[in-house]
């Protein structure tokens, strides 16, 4: 198996062809807080394009899809994982399994918080033993969620390899975690928030890209919000 692309290379490519990058900063803020100013750093189209490229990179470095197993970290990773699986299928004709793995019970900050975060769904449809497991996350920053994800994964068996996809890498790593496939590197300040907004279904779950193909389904957008004061904890840990 060939190693995945060096992390420094891929982002440069997206950067150049990413139309969202050229968008002027919008100062609309988000709907929930007037203290934030936000801009879209990756729009629907750019996200689709990045995932298509990442699918190619995954096939290349995993030498096909035979042993691939995509595992999405909720909530943001789930719609991205579904789209990646679609891309991998149209690329190779084979559809790798997609699991959903909540990392909340493996967090390292549970004893310092006043209340416990709500748990998200975990569904692991097949064994990870001997598989090339690709963890899919929307935003990676400190690397702590990926650490939790890897620990959780090991409780399900022994993958042959673990790789990581991040649609956005913010880069403020606190642990020695490397992202193998990056949609886009976005330089941020530690107090910033990068939020992936996926269209939500009625149940509040990220909407499933529909299988029947009734036209394109919106994936979502990535927004960078700059907090002017300390706010509640958001995505991108």
């Amino acid at each position: 198996m060939t190693p995945p692309a060096a992390p420094g290379e891929a982002p440069e490519r997206v950067h150049a062809e990413d139309p969202a990058h050229a968008l002027p900063p919008e100062s609309g803020g988000t709907e929930r807080s007037g203290r934030r100013s936000g801009r879209v750093v990756l729009d629907d189209e750019a996200i689709r394009r990045a995932l298509k490229r990442i699918a190619h990179e995954i096939v290349e470095s995993a030498d096909g899809t035979d042993h691939l197993y995509l595992v999405a970290i909720p909530n943001g990773g789930v719609p991205l994982g579904r789209l990646l699986v679609d891309n991998l299928e149209s690329l190779t004709g084979a559809r790798p399994p997609l699991g959903i793995l909540d990392t909340t019970l493996y967090r390292d900050d549970l004893s310092t918080r006043g209340s416990r975060p709500l748990l998200r769904r975990t569904e692991m449809p097949s064994s990870v033993d001997g598989r090339v497991v690709v963890l899919v996350e929307d935003v990676v920053n400190t690397g702590r969620t990926i650490r939790a994800g890897m620990d959780a994964l090991m409780d399900f068996g022994r993958p042959s390899h673990v790789r990581v996809v991040a649609l956005v890498d913010r880069g403020h790593r606190e642990l020695p975690i490397k992202i193998d496939y990056v949609g886009k590197n976005i330089p941020t300040q530690p107090g910033d928030k990068v939020v992936f907004r996926a269209p939500l279904s009625a149940e509040g779950e990220p909407a499933v890209a529909d299988q029947d193909g009734d036209g394109p389904t919106r994936v979502g957008t990535l927004e960078l919000s700059v907090l002017e004061a300390d706010g509640e904890e958001g995505g991108g840990r």
Binding site: G114, D151, D155
Partner: protein, 306 residues
């Protein structure tokens, strides 16, 4: 937000109950893993303080704590030696000195967990206090109904047995009412407290009327030690009047489920044929009990920011 302690369903809001049930539904998946353990409460101490023997509830809490990687200690005290207030508080002080992160309490006297919650540093979970409340049992019952029926709102739940002395009945009445179910209770008049309808339930002394159109029929365990007392004349009479069997279940909805908090007195409150097979969901209740207690421990044990 869930408070510090879990003392009774009466104190919980509908939103709290739903948070607990949703958390338990996530916990169920862990029981299907090859490694049935997550590191969430690693290094935390969970004490089961049982003043009244209870193999089932205590084992369920113990497994729940262990699946969350807590260190579980069973501290059993014979109830006869701890009935005085001083002794109880002494026990509490002793426990506190061991610095637990959660204490699960069962006591035959109502209100003991509440008193302990006032004096202990650690959060307290009530595992049954006298005839007052048994919140984890009611929550696992609600979890099981939601799993079987997909909802609780709008269902009709009939509880049969010694309503007056049953903490399971009391907690279930609060819980199912808060989630929007119609609750009926049935039993001999001596087992139906006069003020029970103030809890928003309808009381029946006729089993057929109580079961008519029900979605859930819950038979309570008849406490044998009370049998020869004043409540009713004999086991046989109770079984003949209020025992649930297939013939009587026909009055309920066709897809009604049968529940029981266990252990079953076969042939008394529940016929043999109903104890083992569908529509009985008794073993589902036991299985869900572990996930539900994991949810309670997760939500209260060793929380920071106090």
């Amino acid at each position: 937000m869930i408070g510090r302690d879990i003392l009774g369903i009466e104190d919980l809001s509908r939103e709290d109950i739903e948070t607990i049930l949703e958390t338990a539904e996530r916990m169920q998946e862990i029981g299907n893993r090859e490694v049935k353990k997550v590191p969430t409460l690693r290094g935390r101490t969970h004490i089961n303080l049982f003043f009244e023997p209870s193999t089932r509830t205590q084992t369920s809490f113990e497994i729940a704590g262990k699946r969350l990687a807590a260190d579980v200690v069973n501290f059993s005290v014979s109830s006869s030696s701890v009935t005085k207030k001083e002794t109880l508080l002494d026990t509490a002080k002793t426990l506190d000195a061991m610095d637990p992160d959660v204490v699960v309490v069962r006591h035959k006297v109502a209100g003991v967990p509440h008193r302990l919650a006032e004096v202990l540093e650690a959060p307290v979970i009530n595992a049954g206090d006298g005839a007052h409340e048994h919140p984890s049992q009611a929550l696992l019952d609600m979890l099981t109904v939601r799993e079987q029926k997909g909802r609780i709102e709008g269902l009709t739940v009939t509880i049969i047995g010694d309503i007056a002395h049953s903490r399971v009945a009391r907690s279930n009445i609060y819980g199912f009412r808060k989630l929007g179910a119609e609750v009926r209770v049935a039993g001999p008049p001596t087992m139906l407290p006069a003020e029970i309808e103030q809890l928003g339930v309808k009381a029946y002394t006729n089993l057929r009327e109580a079961i008519e159109g029900a979605d859930v029929v819950m038979a309570l365990r008849i406490q044998m030690e009370r049998l020869e007392g004043a409540c009713f004349p004999s086991v046989r009479e109770y079984a003949a009047t209020f025992g649930l069997d297939r013939a009587r279940l026909r009055y309920a909805k066709e897809d009604a489920i049968v529940m029981h908090p266990g252990p079953v007195n076969r042939g008394v409150e529940l016929a043999h044929e109903l104890a083992d097979h569908r529509p009985s969901v008794i073993l589902d209740q036991v299985r869900n009990g572990v996930a539900l207690r994991m949810a309670l421990l997760y939500l209260v044990a060793g929380r920071g920011g106090r």
